[in-house]
């Protein structure tokens, strides 16, 4: 009996142990599935994080690129502004320089013109004086020659010489008559 009891007890113990073992095995199997699931989940999550990070990085890169384009435009605009300003300043300065140069040139031209005018005037006065002297000399010669030629011509036409005194008398006579006639 005792043996039976013992056998029964032992059988019971073995049965408990078997059940426990099986439960343990089952639990162990269950735990292993859970772990794989967790790992898979973690992998998926990490992939998702990575994907998001990648997307974010790409977004940042895109934004950085856009910002860079904007800055480039702004810089170019600023540069153009600087060039325009410098150009204007240079232009103004050049204009001032040209004006100054023109003014000094004009002043110089006036001086030269005055000097030339003086010179021409002096030369002109000297030439006029020479011409005047020459004219007087020529006229006195011509006077003498013309009187002779006229004397001859008149002599040929009227057959007698009209002296200068007679010319004068006739001219004065004409003037007197003109005065009497209220022409003069």
């Amino acid at each position: 009996m005792d043996n039976l009891v013992i056998v029964i007890i032992l059988s019971g113990i073995v049965a408990v142990l078997v059940v426990a073992y099986l439960d343990l095995v089952r639990k162990s199997k269950f735990m292993s599935g859970q772990e794989v699931k967790a790992q898979e989940k973690a992998r998926l999550k990490s992939e998702m994080i990575l994907e998001e990070a990648k997307e974010r990085a790409m977004q940042i890169v895109r934004e950085a690129k856009m910002l860079s384009e904007d800055q480039k435009d702004e810089l170019e605009e600023q540069w153009r502004g600087v060039i325009r300003k410098v150009s204007r300043e240079f232009e103004t300065e050049a204009e001032d320089e040209v004006k100054g140069f023109r003014k000094s040139l004009e002043l110089e031209a006036v001086g030269v013109e005055k000097a030339v005018a003086d010179r021409i005037e002096k030369e002109f006065a000297a030439a006029k004086q020479q011409i005047e002297e020459y004219k007087k000399e020529k006229l006195s010669r011509l006077d003498a020659e013309i009187v002779e030629i006229t004397k001859d011509a008149v002599k040929n036409v009227v057959g007698k010489v009209i002296p200068m005194g007679e010319h004068k008398r006739l001219i004065i006579s004409a003037l007197e008559e003109a005065k009497r006639e209220h022409i003069l």
């Binding site: 005055k114 005018a117 005037e121 002096k122 006065a125 000297a126 006029k128 004086q129 005047e132 011509l142 006077d143 013309i146 009187v147 006229t150 008149v154 036409v157 009227v158 009209i162 200068m164 005194g165 007679e166 010319h167 004068k168 006739l170 001219i171 004065i172 006579s173 004409a174 003037l175 007197e176 008559e177 003109a178 005065k179 006639e181 022409i183 003069l184």
Partner: protein, 137 residues
């Protein structure tokens, strides 16, 4: 009495009047530029009684010499012209006598333009202020 009358009475011919006008132009130019008359220039101007008189009078003018010169130019421009066509070129003495007669009998402000005219053998053709008279052979 005109302030230029002493000069005007010495201007006998139109040629003299033109010479004085030219001289006045030169002197005016001198006055504008230098505000004085260049003595060397005066000595180079044609020697003429009327111009000589003008220069003497100009020397007496203390201020506004340019105005005085322009006044003289105007007075000369206003002189009346008598055109006298004659047979021959008259000698200086005869011309002076004719001018003297004209100044005395017609007016001191009259200048004479002598012209020789081959159509006239003796005597003269006279043109004055649009009127005409001739007595010729």
């Amino acid at each position: 009495m005109n302030i230029y009358s002493e000069i005007i009475k010495k201007i006998g011919t139109q040629e003299t009047a033109e010479n004085i006008n030219e001289a006045v132009d030169i002197l005016c130019n001198d006055m504008y530029r230098l505000n004085k008359v260049d003595d060397k220039l005066i000595s180079k101007l044609p020697q003429d009684d009327a111009l000589h008189e003008a220069m003497n009078e100009l020397e007496l003018v203390k201020t506004e010499k340019t105005e005085w010169l322009l006044g003289l130019k105007k007075a000369i421009k206003e002189m009346r012209i008598l055109i006298l066509d004659v047979a021959v070129r008259l000698d200086l003495k005869t011309r002076e006598d004719v001018i003297e007669w004209i100044k005395r009998n017609v007016g001191e402000d009259v200048v004479t333009r002598f012209q020789t005219n081959p159509e006239i053998l003796a005597g003269a053709k006279i043109i004055f202020e649009g009127r005409y008279y001739e007595k010729k052979v």
